[in-house]
């Protein structure tokens, strides 16, 4: 993990996302998008880590990422997702959801589509609307789902001007993040520690299932679904705790792993290597969790730069699953047998790491210290 490149970009980065690779492509990732927050002017930017070789005029060295193009974004970029190769969907603190289109020929970004009042507060008794920040967006071509501080869930289609479906008052508290479970089901996390599953086939504004942390009602900030085993879900909370859930059974997490010292802002399973998981936090750290079983010297608890985690497991599932051919390493809760190796990826911690994304061997993350870190050799 020596080759991690930092670049200071003069704006606080709230989101970083790799552009998806075309299906069947053998390339590695080379373009990513970032969104900024809390600046007087916020931007959505596209960056390339491709080799510029000698063409690089200002002395940048190989691996340094270069700005391709950017465009102004009204309000903080609260969330950002690639809709497809060319289109980027952003969630704004103004409650607006925007689709940007990238023109690779002349390297520009333009607004392709916009839902300006996707999220809003209806004032008490008055018809006046005040905008509410949109906190999360998730895409599954052609559908876009957004959630916000107004507790509302919107379902958009890229070619429709109006929302296809809106669930008002879906949540009494703030919804922090959303992900697809399996179409047409989505999963949301909120600020009172609940995980809700919604089925768009059902009418009404009730979730089909509620799972929750017991007792403390610790807010959940992020959620990601295991890429292959759709019932395995990871969430990160305000106390920095990583929770692994099995949505098929129980209403409580399968395991709670003590992780960061402050809010966990994002959690991501590695898309093609899901025994690896990545988390980042307000405390300025970025962690790589390795639960693969074929790691040599599994018995060594500490390796360089790493630390081993404390398990606070709620043994619910395990025994029943043993006979299945594929057992997710994340659901096994025997702390003695399966240690998870954790490596810290950033050299020194200072301000919050707000976002990260992984694709193949590449990782990108953005911080409040206005730096973007990129590595292209995750598993070296």
């Amino acid at each position: 993990m020596e080759e991690i490149y930092a670049k200071f970009v003069s704006q606080k980065i709230s989101k970083t996302r790799w552009r998806p690779l075309p299906p069947g492509s053998l390339q590695t990732a080379e373009t990513f998008a970032t969104g900024s927050w809390d600046n007087e002017e916020n931007y959505v930017s596209l960056w390339s880590i491709g080799d510029f070789g000698n063409l690089d005029s200002d002395g940048g060295f190989e691996g340094d990422h270069q700005l391709l193009c950017d465009i102004r974004h009204h309000g903080d970029v609260m969330d950002l997702q690639f809709f497809d190769q060319e289109r980027i969907v952003t969630a704004s603190s103004t409650g607006c959801v925007t689709v940007f289109l990238h023109h690779p020929n002349n390297q520009t970004l333009s607004v392709n589509q916009q839902w300006t009042t996707a999220h809003y507060h209806a004032g008490p008794g008055s018809p006046s609307y005040s905008s509410a920040p949109c906190t999360g967006v998730v895409c599954n071509n052609p559908e876009i789902v957004t959630v916000g501080e107004d507790g509302r869930i919107n379902l958009f289609r890229a070619d429709h001007k109006e929302a296809v479906r809106t669930i008002d008052n879906a949540d009494s508290s703030t919804l922090h993040s959303v992900t697809f479970l399996r179409t047409p089901e989505i999963l949301t996390v909120n600020s009172i520690g609940q995980l809700k599953i919604w089925d768009f086939r059902q009418q009404g504004n009730e979730p089909s299932q509620i799972l929750s942390l017991t007792g403390d009602r610790v807010p959940l900030h992020c959620v990601d679904r295991h890429p292959n085993q759709q019932h395995v879900v990871a969430t990160g909370g305000q106390d920095g705790m990583l929770s692994i859930w099995d949505v098929r059974q129980g209403t409580m997490p399968v395991s709670l792993l003590k992780a960061h010292e402050a809010e966990m802002w994002e959690v991501h399973f590695h898309p093609s290597n899901p025994d690896h998981l990545f988390t980042c936090s307000e405390d300025g750290s970025l962690w790589h969790w390795d639960a693969s079983t074929d790691v040599p010297e599994k018995s060594s608890l500490f390796h360089q730069g790493g630390r081993s985690s404390t398990f606070l497991s709620h043994s619910i599932s395990n025994q029943a699953n043993v006979h299945q051919s594929v057992i997710s390493s994340w659901l096994s809760t025997d702390p003695a047998k399966d240690r998870i190796e954790i490596t810290s990826l950033l050299p020194s911690r200072s301000l919050s790491v707000n976002s990260l994304d992984v694709l193949g061997p590449c990782l990108v993350c953005g911080t409040d210290a206005e730096a973007i870190y990129v590595t292209r050799h995750l598993f070296s």
Binding site: P124, S173, S350
Partner: protein, 656 residues
Amino acid sequence: MEELDGEPAVTVIPGVNSKKNQMCFDWGPGEMLVCETSFSKKEKSEMVPSCPFIYIIRKDVDVYSQILRKLFNESHGIFLGLQRIDEELTGKSRKSQLVRVSKNYRSVIRACMEEMHQVAIAAKDPASGRQFSSQVSILSAMELIWNLCEILFIEVAPAGHLLLHLLDWVRLHVCEVDSLSADVLGSENPSNHGSFWNLVTILVLQGRLDEARQMLSKEADASPASAGICRIMGDLMRTMPILSPGNTQTLTELELKWQHWHEECERYLQDSTFATNPHLESLLKIMLGDEAALLEQKELLSNWYHFLVTRLLYSNPTVKPIDLHYYAQSSLDLFLGGESSPEPLDNILLAAFEFDIHQVIKECSIALSNWWFVAHLTDLLDHCKLLQSHNLYFGSNMREFLLLEYASGLFAHPSLWQLGVDYFDYCPKLGRVSLELHIERIPLNTEQKALKVLRICEQRQMTEQVRSICKILAMKAVRNNRLGSALSWSIRAKDAAFATLVSDRFLRDYCERGCFSDLDLIDNLGPAMMLSDRLTFLGKYREFHHMYGEKRFADAASLLLSLMTSRIAPRSFWMTLLTDALPLLEQKQVIFSAEQTYELMQCLEDLTSRRPVRGESDIQQLQDEDIETTKVEMLRLALARNLARAIIREGSLEGS
């Protein structure tokens, strides 16, 4: 108060006519509001139309530069690293750590300077190009000063080594020679190049004698006539004794050798060996430290501190640190020669050569347009334990004062406030108070930002600020009709009064609509329910609904009763509770025991007897009272019937 160090600079605000009208202003943290009043200066009665704008005047303008933001962010990390350097470290390891930190700071300044330079070149309109260029020269001056301070105050190089450091310093900052060298060597016939002798002279002035010798050998190759004297000059250059870093020879040995060499040079001058070649002769004079010969090269030296270092190199290479100030002052005087007066940069460097740290910092504070430089430099020098004794008349020491100024500037910026927090943390006296004052004034437009601010406050046990931020968010949520959110925030702030207020809103909504909103929250209150009585009631009342829904009538009934008898339920809500009891009273089986029924009756009587008697009442009120009376009568009837049934049942059970 100390006296002023010169006239404060006048800032002209475009559009404001201060000659005609009186102005008014108000201080803010790091900035000032200024506007014209409608009072004219001369005659008080006359109203003059005035400028309709309010101006914001910022002191620390550099904070708003896009490129300098990188400097602030990157140096923030270095600053934190410096604060964490172990206090226990002493001697060499501590010194090398501090030098490393200082070099890191400088490399950040240089990186910024290079980027600014690129931007200045690429700038399309000349005005902004000039602006960037002036920024480049400011950054370059900052690096120059910092580097000198590093050599004098942090490295504290001893005699001999001191000059080597100073030479490196000059070479780093007078770097036109490299492009010139490339230009000359790139030409077909270097020794015929117009700038050939200029280049050789510069190399000698900078003490780069090896390179100068190589150039001379080219001249020797080209013109055989002067080959002989070129070789002699080359030998002189080669034999000049210098202190190499790895060498173990003592200072006295070096001085002795140097003296011999110097005498040898002197002999060649007296013999007029180089008389045929004026270039070589002037080189020899330079190598003899001849001031007049050096001053002839003013153009090539470009500034007095280069002159100083060259002069020391060829006249007193083992200069002691304490003697520096004498040479510095005289070099400055000689170089300027009374033609021009010293500029701020000259004064700063001179103060550094005099080892007057406070003067350096003071001059820098006046001359530079940002607090970044002085704050970081002072902090670093403080870690070198050079500033201990200096206390200012306003209560904190100089390091803290400058850090506070810098951090306040960061807080005035809409997005750099997060950096400021860490600087306040390392100000032991006033840092915390300043942070408390600043942090409450950060606009919170999203919950995510609020969470970040809250985290900062919670990590520092700033309970008062946590409460106030949560309250702001809770108020916002109430205004947006997001009661669930409001309740969450007041629970987080442990704000009982506000939780009561929100609970009341929930109960009122329930009375109006007959159903609860935000059940997902209320049903999962857990221990947070204990925060306020009203919240407890809200939670318990929901529990009653649950029990009722699950047809656990007996439990539901006793819970309902206990809510009233324990006085948790607000009296205004009793009628609703009693009405809720009605269906339980009407059930087929007896649910309330006789004793419980008596208690219910007691509650009802309590409620009706204390009802205030109103004098005048309109029709609406009369109607309301009518409904109320009917309700009470229905309740009385139901209670009486239940009591009868209960007595019979209890009596018959006992009898059997």
